[in-house]
């Protein structure tokens, strides 16, 4: 069973690697906006050395990290499944003896890993030329980071897929998608670290899965959460991932009954 996931993911990984030119273009854009965000944040910091637990080096690293995972987590939106339903290409997926969600999950894993290498690791290496970045210092911190990154991808994918299932109910669900993905940018701590927001925004965000998609990764990377709080953060990430996956499977079961594949 895991072997099958691996085989699907492997092909999706290869497929993502074939688009090298697109990766280079994306990388350049990420770097440009990363520098811009650093300039804005440093202007806001002024003479202050620490804001809400973020040091100057920390906040610079934060911009790097959040830019580096844009492609890995498809932060700006993802409509592939929606298109597959609208164009009827989902037929080809349904002819395969594999759970539909699992098939797409495995594909996205391959895409995500390729993006993490092409757009994530490369980005951090280039960023390192411009700035002094901070890094996790212990092997445990790296392990926690890796776990958190994996869970954040799961939360992200389950959310993206859930949004895409709107395709079963509407012939044009892009508007809804845009709203759903903008919410991610805001409440995940992509625009600003969540700690910078007023308490009520943080409270509101904590009822959504979005902080577990990025903010948690950042706080673990920078060591802002540690010890029992870190374990709790990872558990919450896992719980959201699991909850969303269960929800998606249920929604999918209803959606497939409504499926209409027109033409050919």
């Amino acid at each position: 069973m895991l072997k099958l996931y691996f085989e699907v993911a492997k092909r999706s990984f290869q497929r993502t690697l074939t688009y090298r030119a697109a990766a280079v273009a994306g990388l350049a854009t990420n770097i440009f906006f990363g520098l811009l965000r650093v300039a804005i944040l440093l202007a806001l910091y002024g003479d202050r050395q620490v804001v809400e637990g973020y040091t100057v080096a920390g906040v610079i690293t934060y911009t790097g990290l959040s830019q580096a995972v844009i492609a890995y987590l498809s932060l700006f939106g993802w409509y592939d499944f929606m298109y597959a339903v609208h164009r009827g290409d989902v037929a080809a997926d349904l002819l395969k003896p594999m759970n539909l969600f699992s098939f797409w999950l495995a594909q996205d894993l391959g895409r995500a890993v390729a993006s993490l290498l092409l757009r994530g690791v490369t980005f951090m290496l280039i960023y390192e030329i411009f700035f002094d970045l901070t890094y996790p210092t212990t092997i445990w911190a790296w392990l926690a980071l890796a776990t958190s990154l994996l869970l954040s991808w799961l939360v992200s994918f389950a959310w993206r897929f859930l949004v895409n299932t709107a395709a079963f109910w509407s012939p044009n669900a892009r508007g809804f998608g845009r709203f759903a993905f903008l919410s991610v940018l805001f409440f995940s701590g992509f625009l600003m670290p969540l700690a910078f927001f007023p308490a009520w925004v943080q409270k509101l965000a904590s009822f959504t899965p979005f902080p577990y998609l990025l903010n948690t990764v950042v706080e673990i990377y920078l060591g802002i959460v540690s010890g029992p709080a870190l374990v709790e953060a990872l558990l919450l990430q896992a719980a959201w991932a699991l909850g969303l996956i269960v929800l998606v499977q249920a929604v999918l079961r209803f959606g497939l009954r409504r499926l209409v594949i027109l033409g050919g």
Partner: protein
């Protein structure tokens, strides 16, 4: 014989959104929803025996593809009963599709950006095909479909004919008991079509795989199918042997006569004169009413004949007549 497909009172209805037209249309479209109920499949019944090769015909929009999509577990029927290979396709989709194969001429199941062989290899894992079996099947299909030259080429770079051959191979690697072809020869040239027909026949005869085939190409039907089903506006209007279809609806043969001399009038009893010019007459006759020798004798008794020929009723004309006149 064993029935592999049972269909009874099968229905599929869709709601198709209708948009307002005119000056206030966009506003009206925003606040009201009008839809029309389409009965794509309107209560059909049939069974297919194991090992049969059945042609499923009908004009565009008649409900062919919708039927196939229900049979392959992609769509959930609105009502009726559907049991294929012991499964209710949509309910137990994953187990069901593991034992069938389907080719949709308009779509591909292959990985667009990857070499063809990658898709095949993935199928080996998806369907848990034993390696030996996989290699033997691939070798056999390679012989018949000549896949070797493009196995390592990305699917997006293939010609339509190559892509179709690759798709057909992919649908068969796991030895399905039942095969669905939805317009497998669409858009292909004559040679490519013939190759695919030969392959389908080979699969049906050598492997005894049951095949259900939809097509608009009458040659596909003539070469492959003994039995045809015709669907029109959601209803099954004919189900039987191809020969019987011709007997029933294509009963007209044509006699073409070249006369040795010019005659002012060449009508004969028992046949309808379709045209007469330049000493050539074309008659249409019903073989159940008058035999060809009798007609030829009737003509030759009255006129001097230089040459003559008889045309069999062709299936294309027959089916066209059925579609056009909705004969059934």
């Amino acid at each position: 014989m064993l029935s592999i497909v049972h269909v009874s009172k099968l229905e599929k209805t869709f709601h198709v959104r209708r948009y307002h037209q005119g000056r206030w249309a966009s506003l009206q479209n925003l606040v009201t929803r009008r839809s029309r109920l389409i009965r794509a499949v309107d209560g059909i019944d049939f069974t297919i025996e194991a090992g049969e090769l059945v042609g499923y015909l009908g004009p565009n929009g008649a409900g062919k593809s919708t039927t196939i999509k229900m049979l392959t577990g992609l769509l959930v029927p609105s009502s009726g009963r559907l049991i294929v290979n012991g499964f209710v396709p949509w309910k137990d989709r994953r187990h069901y599709v593991a034992r069938i194969g389907a080719v949709f001429g308009q779509r591909t199941t292959l990985w667009w950006d990857l070499p063809v062989i990658e898709s095949f290899e993935l199928h080996r894992h998806l369907y848990q095909i034993p390696t030996g079996r996989f290699k033997r099947n691939l070798a056999e299909f390679n012989d018949l479909l000549e896949l070797a030259p493009f196995l390592d080429v990305p699917v997006r770079s293939l010609s339509l004919g190559q892509r179709m051959r690759a798709d057909i191979c992919a649908a068969l690697l796991h030895d399905p008991e039942l095969l669905f072809f939805d317009e497998p020869t669409i858009g292909l040239d004559v040679v490519a079509k013939e190759r695919i027909r030969n392959f389908i026949r080979h699969i049906n005869e050598e492997r005894e795989t049951t095949v259900l085939l939809t097509t608009h190409d009458i040659a596909d039907v003539q070469r492959l199918c003994r039995r045809v089903m015709i669907i029109d506006r959601g209803k099954l209007i004919f189900d039987g042997e191809l020969a019987r279809l011709l007997e029933r609806f294509g009963g007209h043969h044509r006699l073409i006569v070249d006369f040795a001399e010019s005659y002012a009038e060449v009508a004969v009893i028992g046949a309808e004169l379709l045209s007469y010019s330049d000493q050539r007459a074309i008659y249409r006759f019903d073989r159940r009413k008058i035999t060809a020798p009798a007609l030829i004798q009737a003509v030759s008794e009255r006129y001097a004949i230089r040459d003559l020929s008889i045309e069999e009723p062709d299936i294309e004309t027959t089916i066209r007549t059925i579609y056009e006149k909705r004969l059934l």
